[in-house]
């Protein structure tokens, strides 16, 4: 299982820059287009359990990484508490997912969606690392709202319907409440900053 481990640090090179707003729109469009592509081309692009494992691992790592940046850069107590919760909870989800796919003997295999998520995450982190104060808090929280909405959509509409292994499917269903609670939480903060 050398393709992933519990190293939660961002292992991706930072190469791209773009404004936060176009990044969010780009991420949503990318997720939708990858989705359409996946369902249209079932022969070569069907989502396998190995792809699902890679998406779950990648999606959790991305939010852990963003949370670590927020702990470094934000001075807002609510934002910092939220960021710490993201690190704690997504680490738990990640560990549970890794334990399950290891038990099932599934080796994660990246697909277009994993690549898209990783590229968008690099852009977002580059953007965050250039900000501070209220501008940082707003960019971080706005993105957390969009990201959790996008990931919930991907889990519900793509991962759960595609999962072949019953335990993997059950795990995906069981992690949704965490993502929904996080979405509610960051929306609450968003309304105050």
């Amino acid at each position: 299982m050398q393709t992933f481990n519990n190293n939660r640090s961002n292992r991706l090179p930072k190469i791209l820059t773009q404004s936060s707003k176009s990044l969010l729109i780009g991420m949503m469009l990318a997720l939708v287009s990858v989705s359409a592509c996946t369902s249209a081309n079932t022969n070569s692009k069907a989502m396998t359990d190995a792809n699902i494992a890679a998406i779950v691992v990648g999606a959790n790592n991305i939010d852990i990484s963003a949370g670590k940046i927020a702990l470094k850069r934000s001075k807002n107590a609510q934002v910092r508490q939220f960021a710490q919760t993201m690190i704690t909870d997504h680490t738990s989800v990640l560990e549970a997912a890794v334990a399950l796919v290891t038990k099932l003997g599934v080796t994660p295999v990246n697909n277009d969606l994993v690549a898209t998520l990783a590229a968008q995450s690099q852009q977002h982190e580059q953007h965050l690392n250039a900000l501070s104060g209220k501008a940082f808090d707003k960019a971080y929280i706005d993105h957390e709202v969009a990201y959790h909405q996008a990931v919930i959509g991907v889990i519900e509409k793509q991962l759960i319907p595609s999962a072949k292994n019953a335990e993997l499917k059950a795990m995906l269903v069981s992690v949704l409440p965490a993502f929904r609670a996080h979405l509610d939480h960051c929306k609450m903060i968003q309304s105050k900053i």
Binding site: S92, V93, V175, A181, H182, D184, M188
Partner: protein, 137 residues
């Protein structure tokens, strides 16, 4: 609801007294059994209510208890949770009811009045403890 416990060492004598007190208690009114008789060191057995924390929810979300009952929250979830007085409560908002509960940890709390509560880590997780009226028991 009518269990009686004596606070000294169990012996034949104390068991005998327990029985006598038990029947004496049963013959009194329901309201009377709810009164603690400190002179005889007899008290009603504490009722413990369980709240399961699972799927980022308190189950049940709404619980009816009597004053003096205990509520035990058990975290059967994947992530840590806690219980604090809800931010929507006017008094004591944010006051800690349980410490941070890691998965599989429990905490018991004796109820003195009705409360709206929430998770201290995930504010969208909400629960409610309501004091039930005496005649409902």
């Amino acid at each position: 609801m009518n269990f009686i416990r004596l606070n000294h060492n169990p012996s034949a004598l104390s068991r005998g007294i327990t029985f006598i007190l038990y029947f004496a208690f049963l013959s009194t009114s329901l309201a009377a059994t709810r009164v603690q008789n400190s002179a005889l060191q007899v008290k009603q057995k504490t009722v413990i209510h369980q709240v399961n924390i699972v799927g980022f929810k308190f189950v049940p979300e709404r619980l009816e208890v009597a004053v003096g009952d205990r509520v035990t929250w058990t975290n059967n979830d994947i992530a840590p949770h806690s219980v604090i007085i809800s931010q929507s409560n006017t008094a004591k908002k944010g006051k800690e009811i349980t410490p941070r509960l890691e998965p599989k940890q429990s905490f018991s709390f004796q109820v003195t009045d009705g409360i709206n509560y929430q998770c201290g880590i995930h504010p969208s997780m909400q629960g409610k403890i309501i004091i039930q009226s005496v005649d409902k028991r």
